[in-house]
Amino acid sequence: MVISSRASYRWMVASRCGAAILGGYVFASAITVFLSLALPGPRAEVVLFASLLSFIFYLLAVIWAFAAKTAWRAWLWLILPTLVLATISYLIKRAVF
């Protein structure tokens, strides 16, 4: 019993680390791509602006991954927005650029 709860704790920590490091990175990347494509203005400036924000989003994602009620929720709310943003970005890219 003790051993299995320790093991499940470790899996939970590992899962959250994955959500924070990988999930957070993909999420931050998706926002940056979306903003780079969607914001108006000269492309160099838009890209710089969006990329500078990416680190803040990454940071927030990491905090979220360890603050969420369960590891599953942490993953879910990183993956869902990432998918939505990726889809919109794809559509913009195809339509405009």
Partner: protein, 537 residues
């Protein structure tokens, strides 16, 4: 949640994020802090390269004439003019052709002669270690440093959330209370320079965003990502030509230098000169003013000329908010142009950062020491953390001091001595790690802090013996501030380590051993028994 409350979750995150890459972050911070004085370290490590600094107009003319002689058909020339911090002219140029290499030469600002000085990477070694480590391919090094910086950012923010009363606790210091004192000190250093830590960590990430998170850039620029900075800067010297350049005579440099100097009569002088396609019909020469502000690397006003006709060209610098922001990010992080008081302030902020990281790492072991020793021997993890702490916190300064010693002890004429200096650094570091592994924990601390103290305090003396021309006796008399300040600073660092050694040698303050301590004190017994299981004060 990881724990019952958000704050507890953040405390957990802070602890582990801080520990996992703590030593890497410590290395980055200590090397970066030293890099604020990169030019001064360079100067000290090349004692042969001491020159009078001429007026920038003179240095620009001599530099340009020299480049015209040694690389007349280069694709471009670039000159950085001498200052008090770096009293020589450095030139680099790109050789013609698709795969034309970049070459560089440091020159005597008065004669244009190549500087002949001992081969040493100088302060650039610390600088390179700081942002791309050493010995690794630069891209991999930069990515590892970036991961460290991201961990640091997470550690900073989760730390602030954990200690929500952090600003109140700022005024709390409970000395000689073991764990509480370490915590108070950790909090104190964190609060004092929190804006600096956030700024330096964030700008460090931002500088290499195109490496760390290039996806926005790639989505918008496709295969031409290299154009980002051209578009942001619209460098004044970029004038587009369709045809191939044909050899052509340029106007005398004096003419354009005089015109620039006249234009900038007030304020700061010329800081650098760039020439595109020299000695061709497309030659453009651009003078960039040395800005007095530190905030924006791009503020440096540029004046460019068509070098064939000698007529000024319109300024094409991108002045938009984001382009300025890009400049500010570099300026804030690198502080190339910081005035002396500001440079020292940044240096001390960097030191506070290293102390904050060090106390954080020590706190981890102090908190767990009693608990981990219940079974008699510490766990392997605990043992390793303790030893790595020693090898980082005491070992890195030892390695840095060893690097300075090597600079004076290795013969100035020896070829590839630069490599030997760097090897000395890593050998000292490795010795420190091995020593920390094999010695009892407290003895390892004491001995290594003592070695750091001796090495640092010895630097002015080894300097005096090996290169009397740059010793304090000479530099103080001649008012050579930079070299004198170096010797005095490293001596001060040595004194700091001497104090730390003394502190570590003091009897313990644990409550359990109060009685013993009192006895030891009354007997003025310096050899009071040290108990390994007692936490450090």
């Amino acid at each position: 949640m990881m724990h019952n409350s958000f704050r507890q979750s953040m405390a957990w995150l802070h602890t582990w994020v801080g520990l996992v890459l703590g030593w890497l972050i410590f290395t980055i911070f200590i090397m970066g802090t030293a890099s604020y004085f990169k030019s001064e370290i360079n100067q000290w490590m090349h004692p042969e390269a001491q020159f009078q600094v001429p007026a920038p107009e003179t240095a620009a003319l001599i530099g340009l004439k020299t480049l015209d002689r040694i690389a007349p058909h280069a694709e471009s020339w670039y000159l950085t003019l001498p200052t008090q911090r770096a009293p020589l002219t450095s030139a680099f140029w790109k050789e013609p052709g698709e795969n034309g290499q970049y070459k560089s030469q440091e020159m005597n600002p008065l004669t244009g002669e190549k500087v002949i000085a001992r081969d040493s990477l100088g302060g650039d070694f610390f600088y390179q270690m700081h942002y791309q480590l050493f010995g690794l391919p630069s891209t991999i090094g930069r990515i590892i440093v970036g991961i460290g910086a991201m961990f640091m950012l997470v550690a900073l923010i989760s730390g602030v959330i954990t200690h929500k009363k952090i600003f109140k606790e700022f005024f709390t210091f409970r000395p000689k209370k073991g764990q509480r004192s370490w915590l108070d000190f950790h909090n104190f250093t964190a609060v004092v320079a929190l804006p600096f830590f956030l700024m330096i960590t964030y700008t460090g990430l931002a500088i290499f965003f195109y490496l760390y998170i290039p996806w926005g850039l790639m989505a918008r620029f496709g295969s031409e990502t290299g154009k980002l900075y051209d578009e942001l800067q619209d460098s004044a010297a970029v004038v587009k030509f369709d045809s191939k350049p044909i050899n052509h005579r340029m106007q005398p440099f004096e003419l354009m230098i005089q015109q620039t100097a006249k234009e900038w009569q007030l304020g700061s002088p010329i800081g650098s000169v760039e020439v595109k396609s020299p000695n061709t019909d497309q030659a453009v020469i651009a003078f960039t003013r040395m800005p007095q502000e530190i905030l924006n690397n791009r503020l440096g006003e540029t004046l460019s000329f068509n070098a064939v006709t000698g007529t000024p060209l319109p300024n094409q610098k991108n002045q938009s908010v984001m382009a300025q922001t890009g400049g500010v990010i570099y300026g804030l992080h690198e502080a190339h142009l910081a005035s002396w008081p500001l440079r020292w302030l940044l240096f001390f902020s960097g030191l506070l950062g290293t102390v904050m990281i060090a106390t954080g790492l020590i706190l981890w072991t102090v908190k767990r020491r009693v608990q981990n020793l219940k079974g008699g021997r510490p766990s392997f993890g605990h043992y390793l953390v303790e030893r790595l702490n020693i090898a980082a916190i005491a070992g890195l300064p030892i390695a840095m001091a060893g690097y300075f010693w090597a600079n004076r002890l290795i013969s100035a004429q020896l070829a590839s001595r630069s490599d030997l200096e760097i090897r000395s650094f890593f050998i000292f570091w490795l010795l420190s790690f091995v020593h920390a592994l094999v010695r009892p924990w407290q003895k390892a601390w004491r001995e290594q802090l003592a070695v750091a103290a001796i090495l640092f305090m010895g630097i002015p003396f080894i300097n005096m013996m090996m290169t009397p021309g740059s010793s304090l006796l000479t530099t103080l008399g001649e008012g050579h501030t930079v070299l004198a300040a170096f010797d005095l600073t490293v001596f001060g660092v040595g004194l700091f380590f001497a104090c730390a050694t003394y502190k570590v040698m003091q009897p313990k303050h644990s409550k359990k051993h109060n009685a013993k301590r009192t006895i030891a004190k009354t007997h003025h017994d310096l050899h009071a028994p040290h108990h390994e299981e007692v936490s450090k004060p």
